[in-house]
């Protein structure tokens, strides 16, 4: 198992390098010019110098190499410095001072390091997306379990219909629909997510809750629809197995049979599906963040794309790819750990 995990981890490095190369080459074809906003009175040789200062004058491969060095060498140094200096967890260690003022990945929009902006945006995304995923899983599992246990009952039929609907209605329709119903007609929740809101007492906590409920629910609907179908199918596979009949025959109560014996066995594939869905929900959050004006990383990607901010787009897309590769790895390893029948070597 350990050798398998290490082999997969090593194999993911060339995968990530290849993906980053593809994204970089795609962005090299971009028609936009970062100097388009500079006034025409600026002489061409000065423009050329500005271009070189942004790192655009070099050949593509040199640019790619520099980006790699910045992301994989300079940014970790900055991160370790931050860990040993300011973080709560490792702040007691002596300050490492690894970062000596080398050039980091700079955004063309703000002229500040891309990673700093990303770190500012991640908490909002994590709060909304992460919470919605947890809520979605918590709703989906009981629905899946019960509709499998009472297959073809009214609850099962209704559950299947609701999951089909949740599967089919895109978030860019449910989002505005919820806004029209709950913030325009009923006036219960605000339609715009206020990121500057600080939670310090009960009132502000309630406000935070009310502004999070709609984006979380929109994202959770998608998660629930997918997961409850998996959960149902997996439970159905297990409910007809011989060991279930044995468990009933030896007089175990129905609750123990279903909730312990069957559930534990059916959770194996579902857990891997849960792990596989984490990066996908980051991608899907781009639309939801756009609808509810949450300024997370999805919204950052959209604005960077429209502003032709290539370093930002490159780094963000790479972060998404990194998440996908890592969670694929985690899902595969979890599958092997949870199911002793599966041996990779």
């Amino acid at each position: 198992m350990l050798t398998y995990a290490i082999r997969r981890l090593v194999l993911s490095v060339p995968t990530l390098l290849f993906i980053s190369f593809v994204i970089f080459m795609l962005l090299q074809l971009a028609p936009g010019d970062p100097m388009a906003q500079v006034p025409l009175t600026v002489p061409p040789e000065v423009k050329q110098k500005m271009r070189e200062a942004l790192g655009v004058g070099e050949p593509a491969l040199v640019q790619y190499w520099k980006w790699l060095v910045q992301v994989f060498w300079t940014e970790p140094k900055v991160f370790i410095d931050w860990l040993t200096r300011d973080s709560f967890l490792l702040g007691w260690l002596p300050d490492t001072n690894l970062y000596q003022g080398e050039l980091r990945v700079i955004s063309w929009q703000t002229r500040s390091p891309v990673m700093d902006i990303v770190l500012q945006r991640i908490p909002q995304t994590l709060w909304v997306v992460g919470l919605s995923y947890v809520v979605g899983v918590l709703i989906a599992l009981p629905i899946g379990i019960y509709s499998a246990y009472r297959q073809y009952s009214v609850f099962d039929q209704a559950g299947t219909f609701v999951t089909m609907v949740g599967f089919s209605i895109p978030p860019f329709f449910t989002g505005p629909l919820l806004i029209v119903i709950f913030s325009v007609y009923l006036g219960w929740f605000p339609s715009i997510y206020d990121t500057t809101h600080v939670v310090n007492d009960w009132e502000s906590f309630k406000y935070q809750l009310s502004q999070m409920i709609m984006p979380v629910m929109v994202l959770a609907l998608q998660t629930t629809a997918q997961l409850s179908r998996y959960m149902r199918a997996s439970m159905l596979d297990n409910l007809n197995q011989d060991y279930v009949r044995t468990a009933r025959a030896k007089g175990l109560s129905e609750a123990v049979v279903v909730m312990v014996h069957v559930l534990r066995n059916s959770m194996i594939p579902v857990i891997t599906v849960i792990a596989l869905g984490v990066p996908a929900i980051f991608g899907g959050a781009i639309i939801t963040e756009n609808v509810f004006k949450v300024n997370g990383i999805g919204q950052l990607l959209i604005t960077a794309l429209f502003a032709n901010d290539l370093p930002m787009v490159m780094t963000l897309t790479f972060i998404f790819a990194f998440l996908i590769v890592m969670f694929n790895l985690i899902a595969d390893i979890l599958y092997g750990l949870l199911d002793p029948r599966i041996r990779y070597d």
Binding site: L26, L27, P31, V165, I169, P176, G283, L305, T317, I324
Partner: protein
């Protein structure tokens, strides 16, 4: 039966008893039924799938012949009749600005909602069908190649894994914003965008089909009929065409329905984010995006395209569900 001599012997021993019940031939059996008729019988039992199929055909024919029935130009500006409400608003609000010249109302520039909806449906369905076909062709090709030729299996499956780990939506956004200009210059604003979206959606959604087809081909090529075909000297491509492809048709059809649903949703999502078709060209996603700013006063402009997208995708998903049940021989006949 009783004419044959062996039977006479048995009968003699059994003291002229009637032949064994199970061996009696009671008239001719029902003629053998074709597989597709069985599939159709099973499919008809799935109510949701029938409704989904019916709705999909309704929408497809609606957007195909709709422009000939409702001849108003979707892009014609009729500024005097702007911001009209749908005709049914008059039921609860007698002061609403309604009229039979615009049965579903008009938008802020006076463009007719009904003809926009039809034209938008045309664009969405065209993109959906074309992208689905493209991804099916790529997916089936890669899957069959990887399953049939051992040498290609490794590289092609690594390629599939690589494509599966690409962040699809961000890459779609990047590709569409980057290649918009050159394609528009070559194929015109609408044609260029159509080609771009179909290609990009097709290239990024073939992987599940490829994996399923590869698995099936791997199992099929060990079967006796393929061995027989090979032993009489059939060329590999003939084997694929005559023996393998007809047998992997069912999983391909099921993934086709899923592909159609994803393609429609992806196109609408791109239009919603403002990177899809040009601004004067109506699609369902674009209508929805334009209407979000005014949804307090004109909720129907969000609801109409949104419901159209959702119902189409719901119908396609139910169709896929029914097809999966009907094409699975283990479920069929129960």
């Amino acid at each position: 039966m009783t004419d044959s001599p062996q039977d006479d012997v048995i009968l003699a021993e059994g003291a002229k008893a009637a032949p064994i019940e199970a061996l009696k031939d009671k008239g001719p059996m029902a003629p053998p039924r074709s597989k597709w008729r069985d599939v159709w019988e099973q499919f008809r039992k799935h109510k949701g799938a029938m409704m989904g199929a019916f709705f999909l055909f309704f929408i497809t024919f609606g957007v195909l012949i709709g422009p000939y029935l409702w001849t108003l130009d979707p892009q014609a500006l009729d500024i005097r009749n702007k911001d009209m409400r749908p005709i049914y608003t008059a039921i609860w609000n007698s002061e609403a600005d309604v009229g039979w010249n615009h049965p579903l109302g008009s938008d802020q520039l006076g463009r007719d909602n009904l003809s926009q909806l039809i034209a938008g449906g045309r664009a969405s369905m065209a993109v959906g069908w074309a992208a689905m076909l493209l991804s099916l062709i790529i997916g089936t090709g890669v899957g069959v190649m990887a399953g049939f030729f051992k040498k290609l299996d490794g590289p092609l499956m690594r390629l599939t894994d690589l494509f599966l780990s690409l962040p699809i939506l961000p890459l779609l956004l990047v590709a569409v914003t980057l290649f918009r200009q050159p394609l528009r210059a070559n194929f015109g604003p609408e044609g260029g965008m159509f080609i771009l979206i179909v290609t990009v959606v097709g290239i990024t959604s073939w992987m599940p089909t490829a994996r399923i087809v590869r698995g099936d081909v791997l199992a099929l090529k060990e079967r006796e009929f393929v061995l027989a075909a090979r032993s009489i000297g059939t060329q590999p491509f003939k084997i694929i065409k005559r023996h393998l492809l007809p047998n992997v048709l069912s999983p391909i059809m099921v993934s086709a329905t899923l592909g159609l649903a994803t393609a429609i949703i992806t196109e609408s999502a791109l239009s919603f984010l403002g990177v899809g078709f040009p601004s004067d060209f109506p699609t369902w996603g674009k209508m929805l995006a334009d209407a979000v700013a005014r949804m307090e006063d004109f909720p129907e402009r969000v609801l109409l395209p949104g419901v159209a997208i959702s119902l189409t995708v719901l119908g396609v998903n139910y169709l896929g569900d029914g097809l999966r049940d009907a094409l699975d021989p283990r479920i069929r006949g129960r």
